[in-house]
């Protein structure tokens, strides 16, 4: 699913349509958004480097991590920093976002202003001037955009989204740090929303509780990755995966049922039994459902709406034999045929006219 997102961003938008836009949301309870951001950035970089992408390069607006960090990230993925500078450009809003360092440099108080990175870096000295920020972005060319930690930049994001030279854009947002209005506005602009939630919410209780500590630690390493995609026809598709943070990066897997087991084990202890024992589970599996053929030696007959004479006679004989054998009534039930399963690439609701 994460790979599907990367491919969608790689392929860009169709003629006459806005570029695909992804918002990555996380919260302090499961702060793994930056890992997902790095993963998507690395994948896109790989596509662009191999010339498999609609876009020619990446412009990264770095607000909460330094250009040096991204240089290290590219190196760790095997990219040569010198050659990457031609297609990977950074608008550095981290080193001197308010112009403090420039003022101190002018007065001679400090000696060093550079970000220290070998990548192509333009330093932004006033993030509050959104017009200047937007112009700086435009200078850097026809690219995909990645934006870490939008603050009050809805206007700038809105502007980027409508540009022809932008083939896709994505940004990271910490949901609990911004007002609902701001996050909702960015969500409206995005065609895909990826949210990282804790696998299991920690229960209210004393901090020293070992269960709570274990959950806190788990939430630093794994989370639930929920993606909401707005399709062209207006439908919304939801997808879920689990993500793990490893030393080498991040890994995505289908959601496991272990989490359901773990969630079940967190059921509060009450006086009555809410769980099934093994014997009870086995007995439930053996229950014969009423009006169903359960392999009693006869072939399972599926009612097709057209009973033949032979079938009638067979039924009558069976019925009559049974009537001779016992004085009890009997219900003979023929199970309907199974529903047709749609093809994998078909959307069963396509014919709906909403």
């Amino acid at each position: 699913m994460a790979e599907w997102i990367c491919r969608t961003l790689r392929d860009g938008g169709l003629e006459g349509e806005h570029a695909p836009a992804l918002t990555i949301n996380d919260t302090i309870s499961c702060p793994l958004g930056s890992f997902v951001f790095d993963h998507i950035l690395s994948q896109l970089s790989s596509f662009i480097f191999c010339q498999k992408s609609q876009s020619n390069g990446i412009v990264l607006v770095a607000l909460s991590r330094s250009p040096l960090y991204y240089e290290q990230l590219l190196k760790s993925k095997g990219f040569d920093v010198v050659t990457s500078s031609t297609w990977f450009k950074i608008l550095d809003c981290y080193t001197d976002p308010l112009g403090w360092r420039s003022k101190l440099l002018e007065s001679g108080s400090i000696r060093n202003l550079s970000s220290g990175s070998s990548l192509t870096v333009n330093i932004c000295k006033n993030v509050k001037d959104l017009d200047e920020l937007f112009s700086s972005i435009l200078e850097l060319g026809k690219v995909s955009f990645s934006w870490q930690n939008c603050l009050e930049m809805e206007r700038a994001v809105y502007g980027c989204h409508r540009l022809d030279q932008v083939s896709s854009l994505f940004w990271l947002l910490h949901l609990d740090m911004h007002e609902t209005r701001a996050t909702a506005a960015l969500e409206y602009m995005s065609s895909m929303k990826a949210t990282i939630d804790p696998i299991i919410q920690s229960v209210d209780g004393p901090r020293g509780n070992s269960e709570n500590l274990s959950l806190m630690e788990q939430n630093l390493r794994r989370g639930k990755f929920c993606v909401r995609v707005k399709r062209r026809n207006g439908r919304v598709r939801m997808m879920f995966e689990e993500l793990f943070v490893e030393k080498s990066g991040i890994k995505f897997t289908p959601l496991s049922s272990e989490d359901e087991t773990t969630a079940q084990s967190l059921v509060p202890k009450v006086q009555f039994n809410l769980q099934l024992s093994e014997k009870e589970k086995n007995d439930r599996a053996k229950v014969v459902l009423p009006f169903e053929h359960q392999g009693n030696g006869k072939t399972i007959q599926i009612y097709d709406g057209r009973k033949s004479l032979n079938d009638d006679k067979a039924e009558t004989q069976n019925t009559s034999v049974q009537k001779v054998d016992s004085n009890r009534g009997e219900i003979i039930y023929f199970r309907d045929s199974d529903d047709e399963m749609p093809d994998s690439d078909e959307d069963p609701d396509d014919d709906l006219d909403i």
Binding site: Y69, Y94, P97, S109, G208, E217
Partner: protein
């Protein structure tokens, strides 16, 4: 050569077993450690412990200490009992103490705005960092801020100015491999409706140390509990990455004793 000081559970939670000094790799950058305390349990002892570690005779590291809470004599008295002479360290240029309580330093009498004062303060810090790194053998600088809520008072209540200043200090961790240690009070911001300073600092910090009272109430031999959340964004030793540690503590005259719940005899 003196033996390395014994590491406590707090040291192990920060840097892995056997660590007695703050570790950082110039390639990976420094770290930000956020200490959160409350009225019931003061986290000042954590700052004193980390300060002593930074000025350990086993390293040549330098500390830039911004004090909004107490004068130099206060820390000197406490650290002397812990076996660390701050006056000597200051004379040896291993400690740069910026006493923000002094009116002249604030520049208010010169008609400067709060922003100008903080810009100048940051300039002093970066200058001290550049100067220290230019000396041979000095590789690691730690900036300590005590404390953030009083800094906000100094900024006339502007949490945005405080955040801007902390962002610039944090950028020193990437640019020069410095470490940043800040103390903040949880209960000062606990009733805020909007996402506050505390939450923003928690996002920024690589390690969050929460100092809290025991859930069971007061005790004579256990003074509270520490919860160390090590996000481990930077590589570090790798052993303490993405881990949460919880243990109890007891503050003594010259040190702090950390132990797991139930192990105190």
């Amino acid at each position: 050569m003196a033996n390395a000081p014994p590491s406590t559970l707090l040291d192990e939670a920060l840097d892995g077993k056997g660590a007695a000094v703050l570790s950082s790799s110039p390639a990976a950058g420094g770290r930000m450690i956020l200490v959160e305390d409350c009225v019931e349990t003061s986290g000042a002892f954590v700052v004193h412990h980390l300060l002593k570690r930074c000025l350990s005779p086993h390293s040549s590291d330098v500390v830039v200490f911004l004090s909004f809470a107490h004068p130099f004599s206060h820390y000197d008295r406490i650290l002397r009992k812990m076996g660390c002479n701050l006056s000597v360290q200051r004379d040896n240029k291993r400690l740069m103490f910026l006493d923000m309580l002094m009116l002249e330093r604030r520049g208010r009498d010169r008609g400067k705005t709060s922003e100008d004062v903080f810009i100048a303060l940051f300039g002093e810090i970066q200058k001290a960092v550049e100067l220290s790194l230019s000396h041979a053998g000095r590789q690691h600088i730690t900036v300590v801020i005590d404390d953030v809520s009083l800094m906000e008072v100094d900024a006339n209540g502007s949490s945005n100015l405080v955040l801007d200043f902390l962002h610039y200090c944090y950028s020193l961790t990437a640019q020069f491999g410095c470490s940043l240690i800040t103390l903040n009070h949880d209960d000062v911001y606990s009733n805020e409706d909007r996402p506050g300073l505390l939450l923003k600092l928690e996002y920024l910090a690589d390690v969050v140390i929460k100092v809290e009272p025991l859930s069971t109430g007061l005790a004579s031999d256990v003074h509270g509990q520490l919860t160390v959340s090590n996000k481990g964004i930077h590589e570090g030793s790798g052993k303490s990455r993405n881990k949460v540690h919880n243990f109890h503590f007891r503050i003594k005259d010259s040190s702090v004793e950390c132990f797991y719940p139930g192990s105190k005899t």
